[in-house]
Structure formats: C-alpha cells, structure tokens
C-alpha cells in the first residue's frame, strides 16, 4: 500500500514512518544543541538534513544512532522505541551510518573493514574460532563472500588487501559506505558524504547513492551543508538552524523560504 507502491511525489510526512523523531532535545550543559526536533522519514525516501555549520545536524544523527542519550523526546524506528538503546543495538535493528570525518579501522584491510560490520550476524564464537571448526570456516566464507559483494558494488574489490589508511580519500569514503551497507540496513544515515570532494566527485557520489538506494530498497537520510548538493539528490529536505527546524519540504520550496535564505546568507540588518 504505502511506501514503494507510491510515486515519490506523494510521499509526505503523513505516510507511515520508518523513522519518527518526536520532540527530541539534547542539552550539553547550558548549550541546547537540538531543541524540540520532530520529523519523520518515510520508507523509500531520500531525505536531506541541511543547515549551516553548528546547526546540530550531526547531533541529531548521534541521537538517532544512540551515541548520545537524549535529554528528552523519543525516537521510533519501525514503530519501535529505540531511544536509550546502545549504538550497536541500533545498528543491529537496521540503521547504519557513516561519519562526517571518515572513521575507518585504519590498520585493518579493506576487506576486514567490511567484514567487521557483518560480525554480529555470525554465530561462531571464541571456541569455534580457536578450534577452526567447520562451522567457523563456513561462516568465514559466507562473511567474506558477502563483504566482497559489497566491495565490488563500490568498485573496491581490487583493493581488498590494502590497509584502509592507505586508500586515497575518495576510496575511503566509498569503503565507509560499503561498510555501512554490508549488513543490509533499512535506513542509511550519511553524514556529509560529499565533504572534501570536488564537484565532479560529488556528482559521481550522488549517482552512487541513488543507485544503491534503488538496488537495496534503502531509505536514505543524509546531512549536507552545501545547498546545491542536496538540491540535486534529495526528494525532501529538513532545514535546521541553532538546533531547531526552520523549514521542511521539497528542495525548490525550501530554497525560496526567506528563513532559509536568511540562515544561509544572513540578513541585511547590521
């Protein structure tokens, strides 16, 4: 009924939500980083979270993924309350993320970086590993095949044995995305995936995001502070400033919103 059966234009916040955030507030001492933040992400959507530097975008991601505990408010994923859960539990429920300043396991190989992210699916624990049991070897093969599949989707299969820290910047970004995809998440959170890229690379990245989204029936929620990047790829955007939502809607509408223009460009007043 809902979601994939509908055309993009009809997806709005009135559809059943994959992710729903209600009145989320986070205070760091006296600083209110996120204030009464409420929004929905509907299945199959590609939503952008934009806003000037320091608006609280990454804090919202950190709250959703359980890295910070919320001061108040709640987060629901597939109708289930996930606020209060640990980050690894949130991941296992189907929310994967990347980081603004790439966080790879630098001393591990490219292949191992991706395999780690599939570890929670394994059942062979310490004893099976130490004894190299048939079950262990079966699982090891399964994990490796799965990881290789995602490395080739992101064009990194040739690099499988390189150490992550030796990859060039663009490949590190792609590896982080491969790592986030390997467990088959339902919701992918991308924190400034285009940071530090030139316009050409940004174009290719956006193409990639669109294609993996289609291929894996993903819902994508991404942070970006360059307006033009978001305009090209997002179906709907949420604009934040000083921890609060100042606008929501289609990119073209939001772009015209005086409050948004003011947040980005400032006002004429002294």
């Amino acid at each position: 009924m809902s979601g994939s059966g509908q055309t993009r234009e009809t997806l709005t916040e009135s559809d059943p939500a994959l992710l729903e955030v209600r009145g989320l507030t986070k205070k760091f001492g006296g600083l209110v980083a996120v204030n009464d933040f409420s929004m929905k992400v509907v299945k199959d959507e590609l939503v952008g979270l934009i806003g000037p530097n320091g608006a609280g975008k990454t804090t919202v991601f950190n709250l959703i993924t359980g890295m910070y505990g919320a001061t108040s408010g709640s987060i629901l994923f597939q109708g289930m309350r996930i606020s209060g859960k640990k980050p690894f539990q949130v991941y296992q429920l189907g929310i994967a993320r990347t980081f603004q300043n790439i966080r790879l396991f630098r001393q591990l190989s490219v292949l191992d970086n991706v395999r780690v992210a599939y570890h929670h699916r394994g059942e062979a624990g310490v004893v099976h590993s130490v004894l190299r049991s048939p079950k262990f070897r079966r699982e090891e093969k399964r994990v490796t095949d799965r990881a290789m599949e995602f490395l080739s989707i992101l064009g990194l299969e040739q690099r499988r044995d390189a150490l992550a820290r030796n990859l060039p910047y663009g490949e590190q970004r792609r590896l982080e995305i491969a790592r986030a995809l390997v467990a088959g998440p339902k919701l992918l959170l991308l924190d400034e995936p285009a940071a530090g890229m030139n316009p050409f690379e940004v174009g290719r990245l956006m193409e990639l995001i669109r294609s993996v989204k289609e291929q894996f029936k993903l819902t994508v929620f991404l942070i970006e502070h360059q307006m033009r990047v978001v305009m090209g790829v997002c179906e709907r955007v949420v604009v934040m400033e000083f921890g609060e939502i100042i606008a929501k809607g289609k990119p073209e509408q939001v772009q015209q919103d005086p409050k948004v223009i003011e947040a980005y460009l400032g006002t004429d007043e002294p």
Binding site: F88, H119, V130, P134, D161
Partner: protein, 327 residues
C-alpha cells in the same frame, strides 16, 4: 589433507618448525651444551612470552592499556602453588594448577573488568595500576588468611615441576589459541575496538563485550604463565608481582610490536636472554652499567622503530593462508 574436520593448528610450516626446534633444544640439553642454568633462563623466557602474549591481546589487539598485568600473573602463581602444595606435586596436579591459575585470573579479570573497562586509555591505565597495587598488598599480607602463602616473606615448599617441556608445550598452545583467535571474526571485532571504539559500536560491535573478552582471555594467559613460574623457582615473593613486573611485560609487548604474536615471541626471548646475557658477558667492573644498557635499548628502539620489531606484521608461517597476500 583433511579439510573437513577441526583445524586447531598453526599450519604445517609452523608446527614443523616448532617440533624441530623442540627436538634440537632437547638434544642440546641432553648433550649438556645448554646447562641447567640456561635451561631455567629459557623457561623464564617462555613464561614471559606467554604472559606477554596475554598482554598483547589486551593492549596490542583490543587496545586496552593495562598496567596491572603482573597482578594476574601473581594470582595464577599463588593459586596454582596453593593447589599443588595442598594436593601434592605431580603432573596431574600441575595441569590442574595451570587450569586453576587461568580460571582464577580470568574470574578476577572479569570482576574488575566490568567496572573499569569503561574507562579509556590513561584512566584505564591508572585504574589497572591501582588494582595491581592492591593485589601486591594482598600478597604481602596473605599469611594473615592463608599462612601457607607466607606473606611478605614469600611462599616456599612449592614443588619444582616446571621444565622446558612444560613451558614449550603450554607456550605452543598459547600461540595457537591466540593466533586462531585474532585471525577470526572475533579477532577482527577485538581489533576494531582498538582502532576506533565509536566506529566499532556503529557497525554493530558490542564493544563492552569484546573489551571484556580480550581482557579476560589476556589475563588468563598471565594466570597460566604465573602457574608455570610458581613451579619453576619453587618460591614466590610478592615483590615479583609488583608494578615493575607489569612494566617488564609491557616493554616486551611494545618492543615486539603491538598486535604481533611473532614480535612478542621474539621480544620475550630476546629480552630475557639479553638481561641474563649481559650479566654473563659483561666484566664484573661494568656490571652496574647493565641497568643503563637496557633502558638505553628501549630509548633507541622507540626512536628508531616505534612500531616495535614487527610493527603489526607476523612471520608468514603464523598467518592463515588468506592473510599471506601482499598488502
């Protein structure tokens, strides 16, 4: 080769090397080329290696900086010694003693690991240091509860059971277990915690669980090493389990290279023999310089090769096949 069953092994190249080495040393011992004094040093080197492998798992692989390793070594030593003194010393009680040493150290590690492993780097180091001091004080005053342990005067009457064969077999087993553990999905989870705890958590790794796992298993290694140590010199003194002993093991791990089994083995053996070798090689007049020479070795090492001898790599015969590719 049977590819279907369990493969609790090291790969045939490593096993051949181990067996040849063992036979060679046995022959040299039989021919009296290696006298009992150097045999004892050899045993000490092996015991240090086992303990250092454990610390490498804790610090080198899992990234948890512990300064209390000697306390677990002591727990294993006293635990095993109490057992063999009570039940009488023979092969079976020795085996049981090693097991008890490992389990005791592991239980204590679990109990203190749960609260303190939430701390990071420096803070964890201080907390483990504190724990080490507490254990030293407990050993010093142990005679109040267990007169057999002898308190600060030391524990005597322990059977002299540890010999080269014991140390070799246990060390070989320790290497196998660690090697199979770190080259596995569990091992990758441990390393991911070291590399970036936040990112590990973000890809579904229960970091608390894996930190505890690494710490407990690493401390069990110390317990096993302690059990062997207790039956090597047949005498235990709390001074052998103080803070400085933790530093000794840490040095072996750092000089060998964090996250390298090969490095730990080479450094443990090299270090033990260097200390004793200098004692023999240097003329009596410059003996005092021994205490200058080896700290100097440390300083030079850190300047020239901060990653340690092996810097995270391994002898290729220790690696599973799929890890042998060029990087």
């Amino acid at each position: 080769m049977n590819r279907r069953g369990f493969r609790f092994d090291l790969g045939w190249r490593a096993l051949v090397l181990a067996v040849v080495g063992f036979i060679l040393i046995q022959v040299l011992m039989w021919l009296r080329v290696i006298n009992p004094y150097w045999q004892q040093i050899g045993c000490l080197a092996g015991i240090t290696a086992i303990s250092a492998l454990g610390l490498n798992l804790v610090y080198g692989y899992t990234g948890q900086f512990s300064l209390g390793h000697a306390a677990f070594y002591g727990i294993g030593a006293y635990g095993a010694a109490l057992l063999t003194r009570t039940l009488g010393g023979n092969i079976w009680t020795m085996m049981l003693g090693i097991l008890v040493g490992a389990v005791l150290a592991g239980l204590v590690a679990f109990a203190i690991g749960l609260p303190i492993l939430r701390l990071r780097s420096d803070y964890l180091a201080i907390a483990t240091l504190g724990f080490g001091i507490i254990m030293k004080v407990l050993f010093d005053n142990s005679d109040a509860v267990f007169p057999m342990m002898g308190g600060a005067a030391g524990m005597t009457g322990i059977a002299r059971l540890t010999n080269f064969t014991w140390v070799f077999v246990v060390a070989l087993g320790a290497v196998m277990v660690l090697r199979n553990l770190v080259f596995s999905s569990v091992g990758r989870a441990l390393i991911s915690v070291r590399e970036d705890e936040l990112a590990a958590e973000a890809v579904g790794i229960n970091t608390t669980k894996y930190k505890t796992l690494g710490f407990v298993v690493g401390c069990m290694y110390a317990g096993v090493a302690g059990a062997l140590y207790a039956h090597l010199y047949a005498y235990l003194n709390p001074a052998n389990f103080d803070f400085l002993k933790s530093i000794d093991v840490l040095l072996v791990v750092v000089i060998g290279g964090l996250g390298s089994i090969s490095g730990t083995l080479v450094a443990a053996i090299g270090w033990t023999f260097l200390l004793e070798g200098l004692r023999v090689a240097l003329p009596a007049s410059v003996q005092d310089w021994r205490m200058v020479i080896y700290p100097l070795v440390m300083v030079i090492f850190m300047l020239v090769r901060p990653g340690g001898i092996f810097a995270g790599t391994e002898f290729s015969f220790l690696k599973p096949r799929e890890y042998r590719r060029k990087r």
